[in-house]
């Protein structure tokens, strides 16, 4: 059976400075009445333009490549050149559009907005090429005074614009904590940011009505008291974006879920069960401002001030788009060791060795692609670079690379981290768009997607997880992209004729 292909990939951001207090770090600060932190937080917020101009975000939405990002001097948050909110792969939306989309995603009248805000939001929706399909009904707005009453009774979470109340997310049940206002806010956020990402595929020419399966792979859980985490974000998103021919389900695996989803999608297509599988993920509210304490202490702005999303389409082999080579799947089995060497062997060298290939033969490695400007001040180091050094060291150990070439390998086969620290967002898949283009343009032949997940955070096991696969040039491409070799009828005729001759010869022999 033919390998599935990466048909398109999209990446989006939503600027949500007023959502930062819902993040895990600010929530902890609130519980400790840490007013000093909140005073500093207010001063450390970025404007929408600063978010758009930030070079790693420009890389995420596809206006610059990771290589170009690596050439820009750090700190990236200072003096960034003016840039566009729309990129080759996606879009960065301001908070007003995000709140409007949150309301559009609300199927149970849980989001209420003031009539004044709706008047402001509708023109913004109408001006957006992808969001203009949604219009909010100003006659169904709620007065701010009524919202304040619900907030005081702890039956809702506030939607603020520059500190001013413009809406609320209400609880969906009086007693069920799984349907609390905060959980509903988190889940509606996943849905809305997932919708934004998937719609950006449409801008790339994807017909969403042809999608026949959807896998949603973020890190939240929707359900009620009787089935917490029952799902299904996938179909909720599909319903909103016109995937009328699709069914779907949610796949969870902490940060490794997107890499698992890529392989699941490729297998569903290769096996013939579905033709076009959409993988989509919305953003994580809890991770807003996660490292803000350290950033503020170092006089940096709050860089985790936005929510991310992504989507990609895995389809039947078109003879042109890069294939997902599922003959190469690295896996961290339950019985695998946990030393860095054992993990890198299981995910990188062993699956390559199994098909007679070496680590340096893969052009690029898309690992945990966290933006180091976010992680280094917080003490977590440059995560992609640490991964590359480990892969290079393994190549040296296995005799595939000279020790002196170790840092050259890091430079040549690695890349600058550029993704937001939103858990599943940076893990393996941020390079699918850039990597697809690089293969189509003939700059590289292949890249490996490596996802890792911290299962131990769920306190069910001490294990952690990882899975990998390779995306590479479609062998159907001959002498440049766009030209498919197709099916060689003459060769097929010769093979059939030869087989018939062989059968005839064997029959003759048996008669004799």
């Amino acid at each position: 059976m033919s390998f599935a292909v990466v048909k398109a990939a999209s990446y989006t951001l939503a600027h949500t400075p007023d959502f930062i207090p819902f993040g895990s770090t600010p929530t902890t600060a609130k519980a400790r009445n840490d007013q000093e932190y909140f005073d500093a937080l207010k001063k450390g917020l970025r404007s929408f333009d600063e978010l758009v101009n930030y070079p790693p975000n420009q890389c995420y939405i596809g206006n610059i490549t990771p290589e170009q990002l690596g050439e820009i001097a750090q700190p990236w948050y200072k003096d960034a050149a003016a840039a566009e909110r729309t990129g080759r792969y996606g879009d960065i939306m301001p908070q007003v559009e995000f709140y409007a989309l949150l309301k559009a995603a609300d199927a149970f009248d849980l989001v209420a907005l003031t009539p004044e805000f709706i008047e402001q939001a509708n023109p913004a929706l109408a001006a957006h090429p992808l969001l203009k399909r949604y219009t909010l009904d100003a006659s169904k707005g709620m007065a701010a005074a009524n919202m304040h009453a619900m907030l005081e009774e702890h039956k809702a979470e506030p939607l603020n614009m520059n500190g001013e109340l413009v809406g609320i997310v209400k609880q969906a049940h009086d007693e069920d904590e799984n349907l609390s206002a905060h959980i509903m806010l988190e889940n509606l956020t996943v849905k809305a940011t997932g919708v934004h990402a998937a719609l950006c595929l449409e801008a790339q020419g994807v017909d969403l009505s042809e999608v026949d399966y959807i896998i949603e792979c973020s890190e939240e859980a929707c359900g009620d008291i009787n089935q917490r985490g029952g799902g299904n974000f996938a179909k909720a998103i599909g319903e909103m974006i016109g995937c009328v021919s699709a069914t779907g389900s949610d796949l969870r695996g902490f940060c490794a879920a997107p890499a698992h989803s890529l392989i699941h999608a490729a297998a569903l297509v290769k096996g013939g069960a579905f033709k076009n599988v959409l993988v989509v993920a919305g953003g994580a509210v809890a991770k807003l401002g996660m490292n803000s304490r350290e950033h503020l202490a170092k006089d940096m702005p709050v860089l985790e001030d936005s929510l991310a999303g992504f989507a990609f389409l895995i389809s039947e082999n078109d003879g042109v788009s890069p294939i997902v080579n599922t003959d190469i799947i690295g896996r961290l089995n339950v019985g695998a060791g946990s030393s860095p060497q054992a993990v890198t062997s299981a995910l990188v060298s062993e699956p390559l060795k199994a098909v007679g290939r070496t680590i340096p033969e893969i052009c690029r490695y898309s690992v945990e692609m966290q933006n180091p400007e976010i992680t280094k001040p917080a003490g977590a180091g440059d995560v992609p670079e640490a991964n590359y050094k480990m892969i290079a060291a393994l190549a040296v150990k296995e005799g595939q690379l000279e020790r002196a070439q170790l840092m050259d390998f890091v430079k040549k086969h690695g890349m600058q981290g550029f993704a937001l620290t939103q858990g599943h967002i940076p893990s393996g898949v941020p390079y699918l768009g850039h990597g697809r283009d690089a293969i189509m343009n003939g700059e590289i032949n292949s890249f490996m997607v490596v996802g890792k997940g911290s299962l131990f955070l769920g306190r069910m096991t001490n294990l952690f997880d990882g899975i990998s696969t390779v995306v590479e040039k479609n062998p159907g491409v001959q002498g440049g992209h766009g030209e498919s070799a197709g099916f060689d009828k003459d060769e097929a005729r010769r093979l059939v004729a030869k087989a018939m001759q062989d059968v005839a010869a064997r029959l003759t022999e048996s008669e004799e």
Binding site: S338, S339, P340, V343, P426, F456, F464
Partner: protein, 41 residues
Amino acid sequence: MLKDKKVVILGDRDGVPGPAIEECVKTAGADVVFSVTECFV
């Protein structure tokens, strides 16, 4: 250096995880009283 010392281990998923450090310090004669791996991203 670690012989008969009580050791608390904080491992990093993207660096060296707890169980790997545990195996190393045990060979040096340490008594591991607590070991955990955390995710810092």
